[in-house]
Amino acid sequence: MPPADAPLLLEVKGLKVGYPVQRRMVTPIDGLDLTIREREVVGLLGDAGSGKSTAALAMLGLVRPPGRILAGEVRFLGQDLLKLSPEGLRALRGKDLALIVQNPRGALHPMLPVGRQISNAYRAHGAASSKEGWQRAIDLLRNVGINDPERRVHSYAHELSGGMAQRALISMALSSTPRLLIADEPTSGLDVTIQAQFLDEMAATVRGTGSAILLVTQDLGIIANYCDRVVVLHEGRIVESAATREFFIKPQHAYSRQVLSLVRAPATPAKFAADIAPLIEVRDLVKHFSIKGRDKKVQAVDGVSFAIRPGESLGLVGESGSGKTTVGRCLLRLVEPTSGDIRYRGQSIASIKPAELRRFRSKLQIVFQDPYDALNPRYTMEDVIREPLDLHTDLDAIGKRRRIGELLDLVGLDPKRMGEKPRGLGAGALQRLNIARALATGPEFIVLDEPTSVLSPLARVGFIELLARLKKDLGLAYLFISHDLTTVQHVCDRVAVMYLGQIVEVGTTEQVFKRPAHPYAQALLGAHLTADPMHRRVDRPPVNALAGEIPSPIDLPPGCYLASRCRHVTEACRVTPQTLAMHAEGRPVRCMRVLAGEVPIGGSP
């Protein structure tokens, strides 16, 4: 952390940015003041849509068209960017002031090789030949940890994974050693493992060059682990600015307090008697997708078994593409499993006939990731809830109406608004509506497929509380799919970790979070950014990190699926298929070395 009297780098005063909408100006940024000192890492926290990106761009004197900067000044190294000539501004941008954005693939030109784009950025600030630029691009890509940069410079944006694209962007941003790097949610949309890798690399690189960072984010974990200071953006202005630790200990603004509430009150998991008959039992579930035009198959789910007791919530975590959603959809037979047995209260779901299956679905429900997408845009709230009632109950019109009112009330929506369409509602409200629909037929079990991932931090807090309440009041059981580990920690009684279609470890939430056994679980949880500013990740060397990216589920390795990325790999691992077996601690783990006690359990904080 830089000294408090370090020279000022950036000073924003009374910034006001507007977008013309219907001949009116909406001003998401209205009177923003902000300072950043040299070498400082400042976190800009704010809810979705609060204007974080707008503010970040404005600090380079840019606005997304058709917006305009209406007032204020942005002093960078003493000169007001907004008064600078276009050429003067251009000379600063990309040289002293660099930017990384939320959607890295969108920021890369889709029709130019990344190498050419990096080279262009480099050559924009100094006379270099095209050949030098190209060479430099290769070096830069190597520096940000991209394997085989000679080949990668020829790739196009769509050929890169999100993580790689983000790295390419940062290599561009760092091509000229900027004084200030503005990173606008650089990791949203990336897996936790990749996110941690990326942030670590970014922090390390910037430390080496002595730049300051403005890190825009909605994620408290990121703030806690990487930032020196936090500024909170709310309703167009900075409402709070504090050193990170103070912020977590004593938030000032109401918004800050609300977002922090989740971190401050960990949930207490329920206890279950071991002999209760399971509500749902899955055995050796396999799902293969065939690929059009090729004879290979995607092995999305590869022998998954688990059980959920009534009233219990099981978390299913794992990197993107590990097959979590597919498991959830198989449970409701929204996709037909390739093989395996799924039992609901002992009755096999796999064998029910279609007509009966439809009725059966009133018992099992699902809530999807994107609440907006999951609602027919033409239906009002009332229509949405009425549909399952029409299908599964004999209520008369009045009865239905009453029930709709009750359900809305139950999920914390105002029944008076039942005539509204989804368009006008926020994501949090929509997700509540989705829950209400799922509850309409009185199910005992709900699959929640990343229900919080698109919610803003504030909405997320409320939604998690709702889930907990419903579970308690209605005795619901959940299969809670997520890669947001903080949320899982709060909602779930037990957690299953998935990797490439297989469950690698199952245990109580406490077990898995405190003492992850499987190397993959260790890495995953090691990458989890706990919102705890006392144990900052930047202050200690990361352990258990995974190398590389998740292999394709089409060409799976013959032995352990993790072999290519695991720190503990042996020759035997590469050839021996792994099985899920009971570990000495009383939970199943899929790793022969862990089972043999060769790899220590835990290893993460």
Binding site: R358, R361, S362, I366, Y372, D373, V454
Partner: protein
């Protein structure tokens, strides 16, 4: 993703869109004429008057003529747009034409919309060999040169309004199939479809109740543009002699009949109907565009 949907809420409402209003006004006027044009026409649009090839009144005379027309009921009505070589009153024909042009355009469009949407839904929602074949056939149909195909159908099938309607419908159906199918394919992987399935709807039910209403927009937007182009095509067919029968009051036919007199300096028989087409089709294009911008976001 969903929070930024707030942007979609800023789409301008119809009333505020000046283009929408212009387009709407033009289309409303044309619809009005389609309903009442022949009734309002001072002369029977298909019967000759004794005056042949008489030019429209000079601009300077207009005020006086308008006054006379209002004051005295007994004098013969003025030929506001002049008469053509047969002595037909051009004004009466121009305002009677929407009934023909619009009927052709609307019926053809309605037919193809109905067919196109049904087939599109079928082919988009249920993908199998049968529907694939339907798509290939529709591909072939769509690669036909439009105007020439229409000519073949009308010239060889006989010049009648019915045949024009069939020709246009045949040409436009594949467009709607394609649009609807693409939209259905996009919609059927949307979450709400899965959700509808999850709460126990049957496939046919989902297709009709959920997917169909949400897949109509592209076809409906297109249809406004298509109605305009159907009018153009009808007129074009008449122009080359493969359209409606004379002396049907139809704009293209009037232009075509008048075209011969242009080198003799008689511009009015073809200029007035031309202006009418020009404005009408523009109106539909504008309306279509406004609708597109209104609904493109959702």
């Amino acid at each position: 993703m969903s929070e930024s949907l707030a942007v979609a809420d800023h789409i301008e409402p119809a009333g505020a869109d000046w283009l929408f209003r212009i387009g709407g006004a033009i289309v409303a006027l044309v619809l009005f004429l389609a309903a009442f044009g022949p009734t309002l026409a001072p002369y029977n649009p298909t019967l000759t008057t004794p005056e042949v090839s008489s030019p429209p009144p000079a601009l300077a005379d207009l005020p006086r003529l308008i006054l006379t027309a209002i004051v005295s009921k007994n004098t013969a009505p003025v030929h506001w747009f002049g008469t053509d070589a047969s002595g037909l009153d051009i004004f009466s024909r121009v305002i009677s034409a929407p009934r023909i042009d619009l009927t052709i355009a609307l019926v053809a469009n309605g037919l193809s919309l109905l067919l196109g949407i049904s087939i599109g839904l079928l082919c988009g929602y249920f993908r199998n060999l049968g529907t694939e074949i339907i798509m290939r056939v529709s591909d072939v149909l769509q690669s036909f040169p439009v105007f020439i195909s229409a000519m073949i159908l009308v010239a060889l099938g006989g010049r009648s309004i019915g045949n024009i309607v069939i020709a246009l419908a045949a040409l436009y159906t594949p467009i709607y199939i394609r649009l609807t199918r693409a939209e259905v394919m996009g919609q059927k992987v949307r979450g709400y479809v899965e959700a509808a399935r999850a709460i126990g709807n049957g496939e046919a039910m989902i297709a009709i109740k959920h997917v169909l209403p949400n897949s109509l927009t592209p076809a409906l937007i297109q249809s406004s543009v298509t109605v305009g182009f159907a009018i153009l095509l009808t007129a074009g067919l008449s122009f080359v002699g493969a359209g409606v029968q004379p002396p049907t009051p139809e704009w293209g036919l009037m232009i075509s009949t008048g075209a011969n007199q242009i080198v003799l300096g008689e511009w009015w028989p073809s200029v007035f109907p031309g202006i009418a087409i020009s404005i009408t089709v523009f109106g539909f294009a504008v309306l279509g565009n406004a609708l597109e911008r209104r609904y493109a976001a959702g």
